[in-house]
Point group: C2
Chain length 185, copies 2
DNA sequence: TCCTTTACTGACTGGTCGGTCAAATTATGA
DNA sequence: TCATAATTTGACCGACCAGTCAGTAAAGGA
């Protein structure tokens, strides 16, 4: 029920989206939240764990937004078009969450999965789960003969997930990827 | 003809590509280069300026690699195919440079161009120059009726420049983007 | 009322950060 | 040879870092 906890998360999201994990101090998050630094450690055991919650939450929101939109669509041409549209919608309307993901993705993906149970390896695994879900959707499109047979589902999913591009012309990107994906337009 | 200077640059490149600008200390760069920290400040006025040299050099190498490959090709279908191939070549063969760009791009692009003469605004301007060159190439492809008329050149250039993807399946990405770009395959 | 739990704070720690500087070392060339 | 310049070093600085902790304040329930 803690409103304070939410304020801290919100402040941290904004800070991380602007400056990245290493570029933000816990003190700065505290000031943005209007709270003393020690209080952050009352709600979160470490800066890393705080970031982990934000990261997981961002991906959860993204997945919810996308898959809620396409679950009742069984015609695969529409399904994939809607998927891309929902994805672009998210990127343009939930800019802070998108920026958090965009900003820290290189660091997260650079983590070796072998590192047992570090925070960063967990973040990577979570991201991989998301990419796999997108890959599965594209793969289904291929099996339904909608997606071009030469498309590598996993590679295409990675490409799409990479497009968190700051601001402009995301619809144009959507159209380009769609044309690259489909058998014919 | 200082060999030491090169050693520092090389060590810094490796460090920045693995951990990002904020994740690397000058002390760590010094140790990797087998040099005392103070010596780095003999060759470079600041950590930021050191990074600026690496960033600019990476983009210069990338541009050289790409445009050397396509300058003598006037048939635009081949020109754009060769361009994509050269780009993928660079990303797979010059991994450290690619990683430096990939890792710090979100931070660089997040900089407002208005910030007069900060290091980061200069890095952004340099990156924008590169994207503009790619956009110009695609635009020419459009005018030669090779690239699909609906393609937004600037947006497509941004998308391509974003693909520094760690490792795998870059050829598959190349094929997908090519299909999205071209009028017909 | 008093007591337990929850929320919050200030002051602090050990360590690291980017950066400086006087002095030492090594090369240069007259 | 000797002076001058280029290169390299260790010792140091103030600022800041993530994280700790004893203790205060505020609720809430009996």
């Amino acid at each position: 029920m803690s409103d304070t906890r939410e304020r801290i998360l919100e402040a941290a999201r904004n800070a991380f989206s602007e400056k990245g994990f290493d570029g933000v101090s816990v003190e700065e998050i505290a000031q943005r939240a209007g709270v003393r630094k020690a209080l952050i450690y009352y709600y979160f055991p470490s800066k890393e764990i705080l970031f982990e919650e934000i990261w997981n939450n961002a991906l959860e929101e993204l997945e919810k937004h996308i898959f809620r939109e396409i679950e009742n669509e069984n015609y695969y041409v529409k399904k994939i078009k809607r998927f891309l549209k929902a994805y672009i919608d998210f990127v343009t309307s939930r800019k802070i969450l998108s920026k958090v993901i965009e900003r820290e993705r290189p660091a997260v993906l650079n983590t070796s999965t072998e590192e047992s149970e570090t925070t960063w390896s967990r973040l990577k695994e979570r991201y991989d789960v998301f990419v796999d879900k997108v890959a599965k959707l594209i793969e289904e499109g291929k099996q339904n003969q909608i997606v071009h047979p030469d498309v590598d589902s996993k590679a295409a999913a990675k490409l799409i997930a990479q497009v968190m591009s700051g601001s402009s012309a995301t619809e144009a990107i959507q159209a380009l990827i769609l044309r690259g994906l489909m058998k014919e337009s």
